[in-house]
């Protein structure tokens, strides 16, 4: 028993000290996550005391009152002790009442609507990726900033996520930044995140926490906590349309993009004559600034030319999906199909997408 206790205790200590636990709720990096962590430490401490008290009482009773060989005496037949029983009914009630106060206070604080200088981000969960739209960051063409799977938020300022789902229930969980919140079709749910100033420059991983079928394990998210200036720079860059190429392999890539990829993906592009237009359909992730992301496939693949070529060649080989069950009329999208592009087309597409920084 004691060994188990020490394993658990040691583990928790290690877990909270170690720096190589990027997705741990015990390494809070936002004001909100710190509040939750503070509450957790309080409750865990009380629970640890109760744990030792009860286990020690049990062990003492076993050791002290075990029948020894040759002892045939009978024990005193006690049936109970009402006073004692009332005491050990009331003590837990009092402890719980004490815990309830900070619990409710923190709960209402975390659930209160964000006020002041708040960055709003609309989050839509899809099988199996995340769509982020910044409704208040709008380009000259009137199009808001739209990106996928990698969320950028400024350090030291509150971001409020307004979340819903396009298909089944998902849950947004980036443990160092906030407790999880479900994305439910037909409902809007909210998370507030105020990253610590000290977290600026960090990329914090998280993932979907509500089982959503085949790609659930691969529905990851990365949150870039940017210094405020870096965030402005990033946002300005994202509002720029992607250039339509005029030379090189990317020209062919754009043809394929317009003919095939645009069935499901959107890009905001600037034609050589300077006109800006949005091409494609917003079914899959927006690809305008695909190359600016560190990863793709909802965080499962590092964004390299080789990975991208392999992905376009056979997406389901890298991430379990069910595109054969796609039914666009019913709004059901279960992954990217293999379009059977030939290697040259794929190479051209990779050239194009990796140029859209």
């Amino acid at each position: 028993m004691r060994r188990i206790v020490s394993i658990v205790a040691l583990g928790l200590v290690l877990a909270s000290c170690s720096s190589n636990l990027p997705q741990s709720s015990l390494n809070p990096k936002s004001v909100e996550a710190q509040k939750i962590d503070g509450l957790w430490i309080l409750v865990f401490s009380i629970a640890t005391v109760i744990f030792f008290a009860v286990q020690i009482a049990l062990i003492v009773s076993i050791v002290r009152w075990r029948r020894r060989p040759g002892d045939d005496s009978e024990p005193k037949q006690t049936h109970g002790n009402t006073r004692l029983e009332i005491v050990w009914t009331i003590i837990p009630a009092v402890i719980l009442a004490v815990i309830a106060v900070p619990t409710l206070r923190t709960l209402f604080e975390l659930r209160a609507p964000a006020t002041g200088d708040v960055l709003r981000v609309k989050v839509t969960g899809h099988q199996w990726w995340w769509e982020f739209e910044y409704p208040d960051i709008v380009g000259p063409d009137g199009r808001p900033l739209i990106t996928a799977n990698e969320l950028h938020i400024p350090a030291g300022r509150t971001t409020e996520l307004e979340m819903t789902s396009a298909d089944v229930i998902h849950s947004f969980w980036v443990p160092p930044l906030a407790g999880k919140r479900d994305l439910v079709p037909g409902l809007t749910t909210y998370i507030k995140i105020t990253p610590l100033e000290s977290a600026a420059g960090e990329v914090i991983p998280g993932q979907c926490a509500e089982y959503c079928w085949l790609g659930h394990a691969d529905m990851r998210v990365k949150v870039h906590v940017d210094a405020p200036d870096d965030f402005e720079t990033w946002a300005a860059g994202q509002l720029e349309p992607a250039p339509v190429p005029t030379t090189g392999a990317a020209v062919g890539g754009f043809e394929t993009f317009s003919g095939v990829c645009a069935t499901c993906h959107q890009a905001n592009v600037r034609q050589p004559d300077g006109t800006v237009e949005t091409i494609g359909t917003a079914i899959g992730p927006d690809l305008t600034h695909f190359a600016s992301r560190d990863t793709f496939g909802a965080g499962i693949l590092e964004n390299t030319a080789e990975h991208l070529a392999a992905w376009i060649d056979d997406p389901s080989a890298l991430k379990p999906m069910a595109p054969e069950l796609n039914d666009l009329d019913r709004g059901r999208v279960l992954g990217m199909p293999d379009y059977g592009l030939d290697p040259d087309q794929i190479a051209e597409l990779v050239e194009l997408l990796e140029s859209w920084k």
Partner: protein, 632 residues
């Protein structure tokens, strides 16, 4: 001891498969529940090993995502509906009538029907692997994922399978309530009933009140999938959260259905092995009832991340905290029972003490879920997986293992080996903690549940490997248990009627008991009546063995004045065997199969029609058959 007359007992003393198929004897039905539950325990355990093997290392390749989803869903469904519920039913069937001094249950044929319906439904659920895959929407079957893909019948299997298993449990529960309320031996007032019987009352009421709720939810799921209704479809003003409410109004009381009978068993074993009465009998009984009541007011703590709003979350969080109070009372009373005793550290006692120790951990982690903001970090992570395995394995399974060691002698007339039993206990306890303690840390470190793979570099590798090693150790423990059963069944030490110096009425009769349980119906004067027939107390309050009455110590006061007094085993009329319950249950399961394949057209309708005819045959035959056929 009136052993000589036992062999001449009337009705169904015969052997052979047919006698088991047609039996309405609660003891045989109990044994069949136990055997079936154990088989499903091995299947569910094998699924668990597959899961742990897949997760032993980052990006495991043992199972595909598609296979993993089916395996973890079936692991959950199997362990809840086909292992823990039926093993509880096994003990309840066998021992509730014996503990209340009854010769049978109130509705023997409903009892047989409930068993066969459970057994065929669970088998039927497993036929899904042959027809396009097993349910893969997790055991909670959240909408709208569960209604999204109608190309597969996987979640139709879920909907119908859970429905059928629920009907079986309902039938069983009604039988237990009727039995306990109407068939207790003379003098056995409610507050003289063994705690195990009390917990059976509570769980039966929980099931009767909660199963209809999920029944509605499951029908709605089936209709959404097959008949175009939109109960859970957000795009048509349906509500995906409706399913979650319906599921958890059932699902939370269900947790207590799984654990309360184990608490009852432990409350039986601790006094016997401590040689002291249960500390605070009334407190233990009423805390069990309180847990049952509160269990209906906390369902939304499974939905703290779903967006119910802070007021509802605060209410459900506080209600959840309240449950810790009666649970704590039980634990303190159990420790109080051992305090000052002469503890015989037999295998059932070790499992009972292990139960208390592990359940404390599960209980404490449960309290951390009521801290709503903290729960938003724990929910759907491995922390939750760790928590409910501490409750359902560290609690329920250890409790039922304790029961198995305690009551095996009554079932078979032979003792399980104590030496092997102790190996079994320690291997299981160590393996269990090795498996599930690290999962607390994994969850807090951000590992979500129901994920078939994870990347290296998140600090999860070592804990996952440890957990997998632990799961194999549990499997070794199960093998040791099987070895113990086989060995002891063949050459176990003879048990006699009362191997543990027991306190309750099942120990007054032979091991195994005759078909009619008691030659003479006992008359009860005390809680733990049998103990007071053997022991008195001296002036210091210590137990003193009473002098043996002529003819053996086991003479039981009987209801000699009443008109039911038979005194002669030959005149006891037990219900006759019947094959109609098994036919009716086959018919009902066939109707279920028809519902699963209803959208396939002809096959579905043919199965429905066949099922209707067979059920009608079964139920009509049953209705027209006299309960006791005239004896020879």
């Amino acid at each position: 001891m009136a052993v000589a007359t036992r062999e001449q007992a009337p009705a169904a003393a015969d052997r052979g498969l047919w006698s088991w198929i047609t039996t309405v004897d609660h003891k045989r039905i109990g044994i069949m529940y136990a055997v079936a539950a154990f088989i499903f325990f091995l299947i569910g355990g094998f699924e668990a090993l597959l899961i742990r093997t897949q997760l032993a290392q980052p990006n495991g390749t043992v199972l595909s995502a598609e296979a993993y989803n089916q395996i973890f869903t079936m692991h959950g469904l199997t362990m809840v509906f086909a292992v823990i519920m039926p093993i509880a039913a096994a003990f309840q069937n066998y021992f509730v009538p014996l503990q209340i001094g009854a010769r049978d249950v109130a509705f023997p044929r409903i009892n047989a029907f409930a068993f066969w319906l459970f057994f065929f439904s669970a088998l039927f659920l497993y036929t899904s692997f042959l027809f396009g895959g097993a349910p893969d929407g997790a055991w909670v079957g959240y909408a709208p994922l569960s209604t999204q893909l109608t190309e597969y019948v996987r979640m139709d299997y879920y909907s119908v399978g859970a429905q059928l298993l629920g009907v079986a449990s309902l039938a069983g529960s009604i039988n237990f309530i009727a039995t306990i309320f109407t068939m207790r031996a003379p003098g056995m007032s409610l507050m003289r009933m063994p705690v195990f019987v009390w917990m059976t009352v509570v769980t039966s009421f929980l099931l009767i009140l909660s199963l209809p709720v999920i029944g509605v939810g499951l029908w709605q799921m089936l209709f959404d999938r097959n008949f175009g209704t939109l109960f859970y479809a957000a795009q048509a003003q349906g509500d995906p959260l409706l399913w979650q409410h319906l599921f958890w109004i059932f699902g939370h009381p269900e947790v207590y259905v799984l654990i309360l009978p184990a608490m009852g068993i432990v409350s039986e074993i601790l006094p016997v092995m401590s040689r002291k009465p249960l500390f605070g009998y009334a407190f233990v009984v009423f805390s069990g009832i309180a847990i049952g009541f509160l269990g209906f007011g906390v369902w939304a703590h499974h939905m703290f991340t779903a967006g119910l709003g802070p007021v509802a979350e605060a209410g459900f969080g506080l209600a959840t905290m309240l449950i810790a109070i009666p649970t704590g009372v039980k634990i303190f009373n159990w420790i109080g029972t051992t305090w000052g005793g002469r503890l015989k550290l037999t295998t059932p006692m070790l499992f009972s003490l292990g139960f208390i120790s592990m359940f404390v951990i599960g209980g404490l982690s449960g309290v951390t879920h009521s801290i709503v903001p903290a729960d938003t970090q724990q929910h759907d992570s491995y922390y939750i997986v760790a928590h409910f395995h501490y409750v359902l394995f560290g609690g329920a399974v250890l409790g039922y293992m304790a029961g198995a060691y305690y009551w095996f002698p009554k079932w078979t007339g032979k003792m399980l080996s104590e030496t092997i039993g102790k190996w079994h206990f320690w291997i299981t306890l160590i393996g269990f903690n090795l498996t599930f303690a690290p999962q607390h840390i994994l969850g807090l470190d951000g590992m979500p549940r129901r994920t078939y793979r994870y990347d290296a570099g998140l600090g999860w590798d070592g804990w996952n490997m440890m957990s997998t090693i632990g799961s194999y150790l549990i499997a070794v423990g199960v093998l040791v248990f099987i070895w113990n059963i086989i060995r002891s069944w063949r050459n176990g030490e003879p048990a006699g009627n009362d191997p543990w110096d027991g306190r309750t009425l099942e120990w007054t009769t032979s091991s195994p008991p005759p078909v009619h349980n008691f030659d003479e119906v006992p008359v009860v004067h005390h809680v733990d009546d049998f103990w007071y027939r053997k022991y008195g107390v001296d002036e210091e309050g210590r137990a003193v063995k009473m002098p043996e009455v002529s003819g053996g110590a086991l003479t039981v006061d009987t209801d000699s004045g009443g008109e039911d007094a038979d005194g002669d085993a030959h005149d006891i009329h037990m219900p006759s065997p019947s094959y109609f319950p098994i036919i009716a249950s086959l018919g009902v399961v066939t109707i279920g199969a028809g519902l699963v394949f209803i959208s396939s057209g002809a096959i579905g309708f043919a199965l429905l029609a066949l099922g209707a005819i067979v059920s009608l045959w079964g139920f009509m035959g049953w209705a027209g058959e006299p309960i006791t056929k005239e004896a020879h």
